[in-house]
Symmetry: C2
Subunit: 306 residues, 2 copies
Amino acid sequence: MDQSIVIVGDWGGSRLRLWLRQGKSVIHRRDGPGVTALTDSPEKTFLDLVGDWREAGPDYAILCGMVGSRMGWTEAPYAPCPATTGQIAARAVRIEAAGLPVRIVPGLSCVNPLGGPDVMRGEETQILGALSLDAALRSGRHLLVLPGTHNKWAVVEDGQITTFLTAPIGETFALLKAHSTLGAGGGSLAEGSAAGFARGLTRIAEQGAGRLTHLMFETRARQLLEAMTPADAMGFLSGLLIGADVAAARDWFGPMEAVTVIGDGPLAALYVQALAATGVTASAVDGDAAVLAGLSMITRHQDASS
Amino acid sequence: MDQSIVIVGDWGGSRLRLWLRQGKSVIHRRDGPGVTALTDSPEKTFLDLVGDWREAGPDYAILCGMVGSRMGWTEAPYAPCPATTGQIAARAVRIEAAGLPVRIVPGLSCVNPLGGPDVMRGEETQILGALSLDAALRSGRHLLVLPGTHNKWAVVEDGQITTFLTAPIGETFALLKAHSTLGAGGGSLAEGSAAGFARGLTRIAEQGAGRLTHLMFETRARQLLEAMTPADAMGFLSGLLIGADVAAARDWFGPMEAVTVIGDGPLAALYVQALAATGVTASAVDGDAAVLAGLSMITRHQDASS
């Protein structure tokens, strides 16, 4: 039975999560800054955080996410789609930090379903993890969604990631909430209300995603004319953006029975609700579980081939 | 012949433009801060700017725009659509500043073509001005567009403003340009390129406005994978947003032969180009000329009825 000790991590733009694993068990977890918030070099930040974990004698560390971008530790060029776990593992970049081998998982590039170029970093590892956790996803054609700043829809076919499509839903919402006049009528940063969200979903379903920007202005007009509360307004805006994203995905993916949502927290729950509103069953996979399973899959492939 | 002296002004959120008129001639023009950038009270700001114009003996001042909102000088409640020049004139609020009568034009509210509430302040005066300047607009059904932070599409039928629809196109573009990762790959604030704009129009026409948010991410992916320049990227993003706005307007307004664009500068030119790309002839009316003509129309109605 494998009892090897490995440090695994998801180092994204806004946060770093590191785990110390022995075999299949997680012994410790530590959090650190994302690559856009570093005050030291990536190497020093990493080594400071790892600290006494070195005493456990880890064989190596493996990291996915923005750490492999130009703004990260070292660039791990995108692997093209379609991509299997083996192909992604084979393209990991190997470096070293104070004697500890470090492997950096590449991101993925593709021609997306709209015929445009697209990129991801970190989500590929979560998708591989979902395949590892759920055998049903490893055969046939499936749609997965990874809610976030740059929301990703991914298609897997017989265990390969064949294509994906990004929409900056979380980023657009955050900008409008923080800086736009749509939030006027109250300076509250309160989370959007459930009632507002449901109303936003209904409006976009009635009018179609092609009218998104025009419906967005209702967020302001309803506050001015109908005394809509700031919490309802922010829920409404969130419902419009997520509803439009889901409608567009249904449009290009075609009929679907089920979608796998990878993530956790309120945002993943909103996607489950938006999918349900269009008659699609969504099953959720925990984001941390997916990234851990994905990093295990990649290391197994690497160890088998090295 | 009317040789009365009047101070007229368009006092919006971001700027104040004041003109001293004698009959139909503009004698002087002065600029000041918008209502969101005031350091003094609206009354003091106004009187300081008017200054020596008082010596010419103006009968009164008339102002349109955000000056009539809750955040302005005094609230002039929205007039409901459909609205004629006479109905708007009748709802002007009358106040006084150091002995000078001041009239504040109300904004308009409506149920917009998507069945939602909508509002405008200032654009109603420009629309009335366009009707005054172009007799052909005073009979039949016409579509007008007023490009800006909150872009307005307005329907006029036999001289009445019957409905309108707002989309926060300029605001969304400015937020994405200033704060989002879509602008990454270069910190340039350069205006978008013409080539990028044309490419954005083509992409949204191919894919449909319902895929706007997904196409937005191409702005980033093309910079990362295809070395798209920042200027092309910002033009591309602008083409997507304006193209989606135009497509949605065509969708609800129905077949149209011509559209009147009220405004000036690069943004109005981009709308003319986007409309031409969908086979619609656009004629442009200068924004300053429209607001001056609109304020004349309103004062004539007021003076006739008072």
